[in-house]
């Protein structure tokens, strides 16, 4: 990577930094770019915001989704079959 990554390359680094510790040179390049680029700084913030929203959102919330009656019936029948061969 050149001394200063482009925005596109920076989004790759920022994404990867969400999952693993970057090598030193990449970490510096990312920091340097984020310091001078508003768009990429915004992108980086939003990556973290997305993570927060998705995690918050996964608890057993009042999410209304439920097994459809026919699916429930099918599963009950399968269980029954397994129990009484």
């Amino acid at each position: 990577m050149k001394w200063m990554p482009t925005c596109r390359e920076t989004t790759e680094l920022a994404s990867r930094a969400m999952d693993a510790r970057l090598p030193f040179a990449d970490r510096m390049a990312l920091r340097l770019h984020l310091a001078i680029c508003k768009n990429c700084a915004q992108f980086n913030l939003q990556l973290q915001e997305m993570r927060r929203l998705f995690r918050v959102e996964t608890g057993d919330s009042d999410d209304a989704a439920a097994l459809a009656p026919d699916a429930r019936q099918r599963i009950a029948t399968e269980l029954q079959k397994r129990l009484a061969p």
Partner: protein, 188 residues
């Protein structure tokens, strides 16, 4: 007694398991399959249930393995194209010189209770719009919180593939959320 157990699990935890599965598989039929396989596996393994964890926790543990199995099967079926999976769409987000094509605006803070259900809907819709494999890798990482190494190993894809999928999924999710109103301060 066991018969009662299995049907009780379905009655008491079926919807919960379905929601957990649906959030990661993004398809109702797949989520139903996951619930069924989980309960059948639980039935087979019921002797190993010690009662240390609540039934729901125990069942959820089994479900996670089933979800990964289902995703793995799907990934095999799809055969990841290395370069073409969304690369052109990514090109549209940037200019030739690598700068953003459009400026990014700050998001509001969509956190009021009243907004949560709408937020959920938007997140689901956006995840549905990703290519299936991308949505699944993204969900395993961001929703299930699995480490990328674990995801690569489980799905038998290369780390490079995994990074690329996550990068693209994040670019698209961000854009989709923004198009659905995240850019208006305070609104979802």
């Amino acid at each position: 007694m066991t018969q009662l157990d299995a049907q009780t699990w379905l009655a008491e935890h079926g919807d919960y398991l379905f929601r957990v599965a649906r959030r990661q598989l993004h398809a109702d039929e797949l989520a139903e399959d996951a619930v069924q396989e989980t309960l059948l596996a639980a039935l087979t393994a019921r002797d190993r249930y010690t009662g240390n964890a609540s039934p729901r926790t125990w069942l959820t543990g089994i479900l996670k393995h089933k979800i990964v199995d289902l995703i793995r099967r799907q990934v095999r079926e799809v055969e990841l194209p290395r370069d073409q999976d969304g690369e052109e769409a990514v090109d549209l987000l940037f200019k030739q010189d690598g700068h953003w094509a459009e400026p990014l605006r700050p998001w509001g803070n969509p956190h009021a209770e009243a907004e949560l259900s709408q937020l959920r809907r938007v997140l689901d819709e956006c995840a549905d719009r990703l290519k299936p494999v991308m949505a699944q890798v993204f969900s395993l990482r961001e929703v299930a919180g699995m480490e990328t190494e674990e995801i690569c190993k489980e799905l038998d894809i290369t780390p490079t593939n995994c990074w690329v999928l996550l990068h693209r999924a994040r670019l698209f999710m961000r854009q989709c959320l923004e198009l659905n109103g995240f850019n208006r301060a305070g609104a979802v």
